[in-house]
């Protein structure tokens, strides 16, 4: 018999409510015909229209998209190499370097990259943001790819080698197709992390470049309008779609951020 004391069960359900109610409120108020996020007045799609007319928001969205695509592409290549290298070879430094950016508080990476870029005389902007995003995405891709590799049947590689494949052929024709779902999941994960990142972007963006999270932050700090709810709802929808795809491809890859 399963033990399911009602007290524990109720507490569990309440915690789910605690997790979801705030996000549902954000979505619901994005359709609210009132400037204040205080009570329900009536249904409108006005704030979504407002969003499309907001030039700064559009620019932020394009920047976020560009940064996300470039950063996830590069970090997928580097992360796959790192994941493979950690799985295949006995390395000392790389496993530590891959995990460290994930383990330490984000602000530390933000400020150290700020000092670094300024010392190099690199103008802060899209390039510095992309370089920073790659640095924190590599580890996540590496972890997903590595875990996919450890679930792989090693005898398939041996069989390919016995049949005369060179190590490179065995990798390209056997390993790569097998770990492909992990790589794609890692890429989607990197894209999501990049498009959502606030802290590291905040320090490495400089004054002229704006991304969606930076734009949301300045709106929250200065004047809250339901336009924030509208952009938040769209961003959540995008993330949701990407995660559903990634979980289908590599179950378990989104277990931890």
């Amino acid at each position: 018999m399963r033990r399911r004391p009602w007290l524990v069960w109720t507490a569990g359900v309440l915690t789910y409510l605690f997790l979801y109610v705030p996000l549902i409120i954000v979505v619901v108020y994005s359709f609210n015909d009132s400037r204040l996020n205080a009570e329900w007045v009536g249904f409108t799609t006005h704030w979504y229209g407002e969003l499309l007319r907001d030039e700064q928001m559009i620019e932020a969205a394009w920047n976020s998209l560009l940064i996300g695509v470039v950063a996830s592409a590069v970090s997928t290549v580097l992360g796959t190499m790192a994941g493979y290298a950690i799985y295949r070879f006995r390395l000392r430094l790389l496993p530590i370097l891959v995990v460290m950016p994930i383990a330490i508080p984000e602000i530390l990476m933000g400020v150290s990259l700020l000092i670094f870029f300024v010392m190099l005389n690199l103008t802060l902007g899209l390039v510095s943001i992309i370089l920073s995003h790659i640095a924190f995405c590599v580890g996540f891709v590496a972890i997903v790819v590595r875990s996919r590799l450890s679930g792989m049947d090693e005898s398939l590689i041996e069989a390919a080698r016995d049949l005369g494949a060179t190590p490179v052929q065995a990798f390209r024709l056997v390993t790569l197709p097998l770990i492909m779902p992990g790589i794609v999941a890692g890429a989607l994960m990197a894209f999501t992390l990049s498009i959502d990142d606030f802290v590291i972007t905040f320090f490495t963006a400089g004054v002229d470049s704006v991304t969606l999270p930076l734009q949301i932050y300045s709106m929250i700090k200065i004047a809250v309008t339901p336009e924030v709810n509208a952009v938040s709802t769209l961003l959540m929808l995008l993330t949701l779609v990407l995660i559903v795809i990634a979980t289908r491809l590599a179950p378990g890859s989104f277990r931890g951020k």
Binding site: R3, T15, Y16, P22, L23, V98, S232, K257
Partner: protein, 299 residues
């Protein structure tokens, strides 16, 4: 053609591991080392850092100094700041544990076919943008929100003056708990799921009640999960700056906020680096402690 290329294992190892290694050295390790160096430097006249080698002007501050560390250890304000952040992070960790435990237990003891879905439901909100999750609490705790009115109404019935929820320490703690909760649920669940149910049956057969079964069997066995979760919540919570920045009042500044101020407003980079380094040392210390305690548990 490419496939026929013979590569020695050593060469393969070098070619595959070097690109990510070099990237992370350049964009993670070197910046971190530069920050250490920066903490021993003077601030530049216009903010940032003074040149390491001076132009020869005797008034100019060049070279290395211990001044920033002396300032940190000489003024109790900064130690109090770390203590305050420590307090916020510990409160958050304890509250997360209290909220996460029943949830993790519910998932671990539900039917196997539901578990993956239930875990996914914990992870999903956590993948929505961090700022959106904090912003949601701005709405809920705002002065005109239904929640605040009901809350203050209840206080009124008890004869207590209405309070402002937003921009208060309570709001900061709620935000911290909300954002970090999944970090506690996941390791706890991963641990609880592996427990052998026959242990509980044995305890029951030996006469243990539900309460005893929990405290003497389930909880002690789950300690590695508790330590992992505590580290995953405590360390990021210690360095957070956006949550106090958005949900906290002017007196709610934590270490992360002061680091942000030093780098972006005061532009005293050397001192900001000192604060960052102390934070890093503490983070590494706590992570090491959690790993050490968890290892001791397994023996």
């Amino acid at each position: 053609m490419f496939g026929g290329l013979a590569m020695s294992p050593r060469a393969a190892r070098l070619w595959i591991s070097s690109p990510p290694l070099v990237y992370l050295l350049v964009f993670f390790a070197i910046p971190a080392l530069i920050m250490v160096l920066a903490s021993f430097r003077y601030a530049g006249e216009l903010g940032g850092l003074a040149p390491l080698v001076g132009s020869g002007d005797p008034d100019e501050l060049a070279g290395l100094t211990l001044e920033n560390y002396q300032r940190f250890f000489g003024d109790s304000i900064y130690l109090e700041l770390f203590l305050k952040s420590f307090l916020y992070a510990s409160t958050t960790t304890v509250l997360c544990l209290v909220l996460a435990y029943p949830l993790a237990l519910t998932i671990a003891r539900s039917h196997a076919k539901w578990r993956d879905l239930l875990v996914l439901l914990v992870i999903l909100p956590f993948w929505s943008n961090f700022l959106i999750r904090v912003y949601a609490w701005m709405i809920i705790l705002g002065p005109q929100s239904a929640f605040t009115r009901v809350f203050n109404g209840a206080l009124g019935l008890a004869g207590i003056e209405p309070v402002a929820l937003l921009f208060s320490p309570v709001a900061v703690v709620i935000g911290l708990v909300y954002v970090h909760l999944p970090f506690m649920v996941l390791p706890l669940y991963a641990n609880l799921e592996k427990h052998d149910p026959s242990l509980l049956d044995a305890a029951q057969d030996l006469g243990a009640g539900a309460w005893q079964r929990f405290w003497r069997v389930t909880f002690p066995l789950s300690l590695p999960g508790v330590y992992a979760g505590a580290a995953l919540v405590f360390i990021p919570a210690l360095g957070i700056f956006a949550i106090p920045d958005i949900l906290g009042g002017t007196d709610g500044l934590l270490v992360g906020n002061v680091i942000k101020q030093q780098f972006l407003d005061a532009r005293d980079w050397p001192f900001g680096s000192v604060l960052s380094i102390v934070l890093t040392v503490l983070a590494v210390l706590f992570a090491g402690m959690a790993a050490w305690v968890a290892r001791g548990q397994r023996l």
